[in-house]
Symmetry: C2
Subunit: 327 residues, 2 copies
């Protein structure tokens, strides 16, 4: 095997999170689906922002969070995603580059549409509800899929959220086709149940034909397979693609292959603060352990540890290096 520069190349939305505490009543009054992600336009994003209290800004984006996690664990990663030429775009780039992720996607020219933002509304139960204005991310196109970068990646990891934009879809298709050509593994996250429900047939075809590794949480895998409960979903996941990693919150995670089911229970968490990024950091731990040649069970266990760490702080980017979690 030739040596490649990057363990993982992530492709996803380039988003700055706007974290704020809100009440359950606020989520209900604004008709946001608690615990889910809603896409909003710029006007609605601004309106919601005007209604929430003081916030903290922190770089986000699901696969970008995973890539930051991999770098924090000591892995080598790169990222492709679209920001605007504005202050938040510079913040997003800084936070990824400074943790050691190669990130040189060309910003969209000008400040409109702006860099994407995600209002992450954290309720007293530490659950997060998200409203995302996709902004410049919608402009990610085939031109942004950097062939030399894919040639240097052992795994290409793609965000399901991207499926919401036609431009993005073409970019993903190109990335998958190049990844195949260069012998890279293709990993994908279902991202969100709304995402799955909207693109179910396309997702199923993608999973069955193009993927080596699928990440999903319990709700997403149920939505994809039509399963009614967790065990049924695990059964239905078998054979969908070579490896399916399913996160199940406090129950831990399950890895399903054609022949086996590996279960990795989660350790209890000292203080649950904010569940933002739990799935993203699970993927970071899993992908990093995999790149290090660990067993699937060990991959799930490191994934659990990373997820357990991130839910004890605000935001989805680890405030302290994750390296200590690598046993």
């Amino acid at each position: 095997m030739t040596t490649k520069l990057y363990d993982t190349l992530g492709i996803g939305n380039a988003i700055v999170d706007v974290l704020s505490h809100v009440s359950d009543d606020f989520i209900a009054a604004q008709k946001l689906g608690k615990g889910t992600m809603t896409l909003v336009d710029e006007a609605r994003s601004k309106q919601l922002y005007s209604l929430i209290g003081p916030a903290t800004e922190c770089s986000g984006g699901s696969v970008a969070n995973t890539m930051a996690g991999i770098a924090s664990l000591g892995g080598k990663g790169a990222f492709i995603g679209k920001v605007a030429d504005d202050q938040l775009g510079k913040i997003f780039a800084h936070d990824l580059q400074s943790v050691g992720v190669r990130y040189h996607s060309k910003p969209a020219p000008g400040a409109q549409p702006s860099t994407a933002n995600c209002l992450v509304l954290v309720t007293p139960d530490a659950q997060r509800t998200m409203a995302t204005y996709i902004g410049a991310c919608a402009l990610l196109s085939e031109n942004d899929i950097d062939e030399p970068l894919i040639a240097q990646a052992r795994t290409v990891y793609i965000e399901g959220y991207l499926w919401n934009e036609a431009h993005n879809k073409a970019a993903i298709r190109k990335a998958i086709s190049l990844a195949r050509g260069y012998g890279a593994q293709v990993a994908f996250t279902l991202s969100d149940t709304f995402c799955v429900n909207t693109h179910r047939d396309e997702f199923l075809s993608l999973v069955q034909n193009d993927l080596d590794l699928l990440f999903a949480n319990e709700a997403e895998i149920k939505a994809l397979t039509g399963a009614m409960d967790a065990e049924e979903a695990i059964t239905a996941a078998r054979g969908l693609c070579p490896t399916v990693a399913i996160t199940m919150s406090e129950k831990g995670s399950v890895v399903v292959t054609n022949e086996h089911t590996f279960r990795a229970p989660a350790k209890p968490v000292a203080k649950l603060v904010d569940t933002t990024g739990a799935g993203d950091l699970f993927a970071a731990g899993f992908l990093h352990a995999k790149a290090e040649g660990k067993s699937l069970l060990e991959c799930a266990e490191l994934g659990n540890r990373c997820a357990g760490e991130i839910i004890q702080q605000m935001g989805a980017r680890a405030m302290k290096p994750l390296k200590a979690l690598v046993a």
Copy 2:
């Protein structure tokens, strides 16, 4: 007494903080004075930013932090300070307005100079070292001093940091003169030892002639008075102006009037996370209690409680409402 709309009108720098963890070695290698604030130009700010790890953005500014604290305690406040017409400026305004502070200062036109930022570098001992690019704040001028606002304020609270810019100084002079005319109390914070050392004679004249209430920490009051230790500084502070409130970290705070010295010991803190904003939030508690007609000792005690709260989180804006601290 006529009823005024605002307990406190704050005038200070409008800054977005960029919070990041660094090592002591980094502070030393960059020749930053540990625990102090250094003014840097845009190029140096960008260079330092390129060298630090992932960061979190959070609205800051010393007196602005105080005003956010007062609002969080349930007090009525307004703020005057200058941002640019850019994304960080909008974030600054949102975070102040959304907590209930009246803030309608006109942004400087255009995006250059940008909204001020402060790199808040937190070392493992929870101490913070700051590098501030003052940006649009330098443009705060007499035109920004809104006379009707001052007419509606019971206390005008001014930031010593403003003394670094000539434009700002003229603005402060106007604010003090108007405050006097409308019968408002004038409060001032020395802000930083470097600030005091640079402007010692002007600060002394200001304190002795124009102030009703002075806030300082131990180092700052020593710098102002030339005292060699804390007790000598307390003695030297007497008579400087009617009330001097001195914060002394884990020792708590001391209020010095012409006749008396009130000492308010600090309660031990469960977990010290980041000392950013300790002085700002002390001022918030003190000013709020004062507006509520409390005794000077009670003012110092609420100040201590607010400071004790803010050092148990990252950043100088309270993540949870401070109202619970009002006994």
